[in-house]
């Protein structure tokens, strides 16, 4: 799947060509066209927007420097002189100011933290002494750097110490430095490239959203169908039992980042659920799972059904199973699903999960932490639906309320996340960073509204977004984005109501929508082609508003305009 991110620039004070090679590699998405800035000219390049590396504008850039090269005072410290702390801070601030100045020359800017080779023992046992030790200086410098750049929404400081740590003694090789000015070994550059690609996939909205888990020998040891709840290996004092608890803890922690968990297992459902509910060492309980398929059917088929029920795409799924045959089956049947090789040694399960690069997201929102709860509320809604006589009765029983709000500094993070992660009901599938989206929304003629939906079962959260571009009496619907979580309950129509009212309030008699087709957004075309009020212009992807008035607000929905809405949205109804 394309990320929409294809060009990358490297600005380093060391030879970084092998890193460029790893970034160019098609073995892992995205494949990038990489430009490298002139060797060791970091400051000049950051200060000069005319340098070739900036033109044309790269999608992303990495700035990776050595502290002893960028910070003169730190270089003094490595020579066991004692620089004034103020001098160190000023140099960090100056470096951060250069990064800040260059931050709008790429969509996304990454800055690697400063590291020292582990063979540099500095002051030895005094190396962490405040005001003296190199290790202490370095930690403070990195914190200052991260804090100085924290307010830039398109700048991400990456932990280079992780890369060098993973590479161990191979992180630095004096020969590579002295013979080719490579400050880091190939293993470090490989780890860096993999983390950068994971970040770019996250920025493109391709982070995985659902982990589908097997049970026997995956969530616990042994076969629950044979030994029952008491017979499984979980917790206690055995290393294997503890390893499964650790793995479950790591999975549970991921739910706080908005990752959903589900089960697909060949088992008797009642027996498996009893173990989940009753085993005293279970960390994950029934409430932690957004859904499950526990039966004796093909796992690939179960995954398809489960993912459909959760209204997700298969490409959002990671499947974890200890059985190589099941993994191979799912890989072959569902190539969109990510199926990691799983360690044979159960003691490595938690580690394998923690080092997975599938879950990077550029921001965390309140919606993320309560996503499992939202899916469970949805299951309650669907249960109610089985009970009521008609769709209208069901919709009326939900008591839907939509809070409409102009794009503002508070909702920007979630709105940008929604814009970048939504695939199905998305008119233009624009992928923009927070700063880009903010700037665009505040350009003349643009207006953006967010839609926060709730019903009597709970809040769905900020799940809708629409933007209008107006000029000379004509309005164009630029974005129409709706999370699949609220599709099919009249929210689409409520957004159409707001859009048509707003276009009319701006004196625009002509309202058009240009549909940008993708592999996934056919639900948006189906909405436009249904009784949306838009008429399809034959032979094009253009739609024109054709009804005499605006779209009526569905009777079962109550619209609430936030006080901040008129700031961008003039004359709300």
């Amino acid at each position: 799947m394309s990320t929409g991110i294809s060009t990358f620039a490297l600005i380093t004070d060391f030879t970084a060509e092998p890193l460029a090679d790893y970034l160019r590699s098609p073995a892992e998405a995205p494949t990038l066209a990489v430009r490298t800035a002139p060797f060791d000219q970091v400051t000049q390049v950051l200060l000069d927007s005319t340098v070739a590396v900036w033109n044309p504008r790269p999608d992303a850039v990495l700035i990776w420097t050595r502290p002893e090269r960028q910070l003169a005072s730190f270089a003094q410290a490595t020579a066991f002189q004692r620089p004034a702390p103020q001098a160190l801070w000023q140099e960090v601030e100056a470096f951060a100011a250069h990064v800040r100045r260059a931050a709008d020359r790429a969509r996304y800017t990454f800055v690697a933290t400063w590291t020292m080779p582990p063979h540099q023992r500095g002051w030895g046992m005094l190396n962490m002494r405040p005001g003296l030790g190199l290790a202490h200086h370095l930690m403070q410098l990195n914190l200052r750097l991260a804090e100085a750049l924290a307010d830039l929404p398109n700048v991400y400081v990456l932990d280079a110490a992780r890369w060098t740590g993973l590479a161990g003694r191979r992180a630095h090789d004096p020969k590579l430095w002295l013979m080719s000015k490579m400050a880091f070994g190939l293993e470090v550059l490989q780890e860096a490239a993999a983390d950068l690609k994971a970040a770019l996939r996250g920025l493109a909205g391709q982070a995985k959203k659902l982990i589908v888990l097997d049970l026997d020998d995956t969530l616990w040891g042994g076969i629950v169908g044979e030994g029952g709840t008491a017979g499984i290996t979980l917790g206690g004092h055995s290393p294997t039992g503890e390893a499964f608890v650790e793995f479950q803890r790591a999975l549970k922690a991921l739910t706080q980042r908005g990752i959903l968990l589900a089960i697909v297992s060949k088992n008797d459902e009642a027996v498996a659920l009893e173990a989940i509910d009753q085993h005293p060492a279970m960390v994950l309980r029934r409430a932690d799972f957004a859904g499950w398929r526990v039966n004796w059917q093909d796992k690939a088929q179960n995954i398809v059904e489960l993912v459909e029920a959760l209204n997700l795409g298969l490409e959002a799924v990671v499947f974890i199973d200890d059985n190589p045959a099941e993994r191979a089956r799912v890989r072959a049947a569902l190539p969109q699903v990510t199926v990691p090789e799983w360690p044979a040694d159960k003691l490595h399960y938690a580690r394998a999960l923690l080092e997975a690069r599938d879950f990077d997201t550029p921001a965390l929102t309140a919606e993320d932490a309560r996503r499992t709860k939202m899916y469970q509320s949805e299951q309650q809604r669907q249960a109610l639906r089985q009970q009521v006589a008609s769709l209208d009765d069901w919709l009326a029983s939900l008591e839907l309320v939509i809070q409409v709000e102009a794009l503002n500094e508070v909702n920007l993070v979630r709105a940008t996340q929604l814009l970048n992660k939504t695939n199905q009901l998305n008119l233009a599938t624009r992928r923009l960073g927070e700063a880009e989206f903010w700037d665009w929304a505040h350009s003349p003629g643009q207006a953006v509204w967010t839609f926060d939906v709730s019903d009597r079962f709970g809040r769905y959260g900020l799940t809708g977004l629409a933007s209008l571009t107006t000029a000379g009496g004509a309005a164009s619907l630029t974005d129409f984005v709706l999370s699949c979580r609220v599709m099919g309950r009249g929210v689409e129509q409520a957004i159409l109501h707001v859009i048509t009212e707003q276009a009319s309030a701006r004196g625009c008699a002509d309202l058009t929508a240009f549909f940008q087709p993708t592999e996934r957004n056919h639900p948006c075309r189906e909405l436009l082609d249904s009784a949306s009020g838009f008429e399809h212009m034959p032979g094009t992807d253009l739609y024109r508003w054709a009804w005499p008035g605006g779209y009526p607000l569905p009777a079962h929905i109550r619209l609430q305009w936030s006080a901040s809405a008129p700031a961008v949205a003039a004359s709300p109804p």
Binding site: T15, P18, P26, K175, L176, M179, S180, G185, L186
Partner: protein
């Protein structure tokens, strides 16, 4: 220090060379063998690639066979009749280095 046959040394060299070429030119399955030139006319490596290849080979011989050699030797890399001319000449060079160490 463990002893290595000429064939085993060549296999280590070719594995490192394959790794280097795969990184530099992904997807291009360049044929390599004992006659493949590493430096000079027709060389498959540039100067940076030669260094990373030599350091990787040094590390690989150490990891796989507990052989500690100075493969990435500046003088050997740059001298006129460099042992890095081809995979074959490098194999012979390393074999003689290992042999000399074994005798020492």
């Amino acid at each position: 220090m463990a002893s290595l046959t000429q064939e085993a040394i060549a296999a280590h060299i070719l594995a490192c060379l394959r790794q280097e070429l795969d990184r530099r030119h992904p997807g291009q399955a360049t044929a390599i063998g004992l006659e493949t030139a590493l430096v000079g006319p027709g060389a498959v490596l540039d100067s940076l690639g030669l260094v990373t290849f030599a350091v990787s080979l040094e590390q690989r011989l150490n990891d796989a066979a507990s052989v500690n050699l100075n493969v990435a030797d500046e003088q050997e890399l740059t001298r006129r009749n460099s042992p890095f001319r081809t995979v074959g000449t490098l194999t012979q060079h390393l074999r003689s280095l290992i042999g000399a160490t074994d005798l020492a």
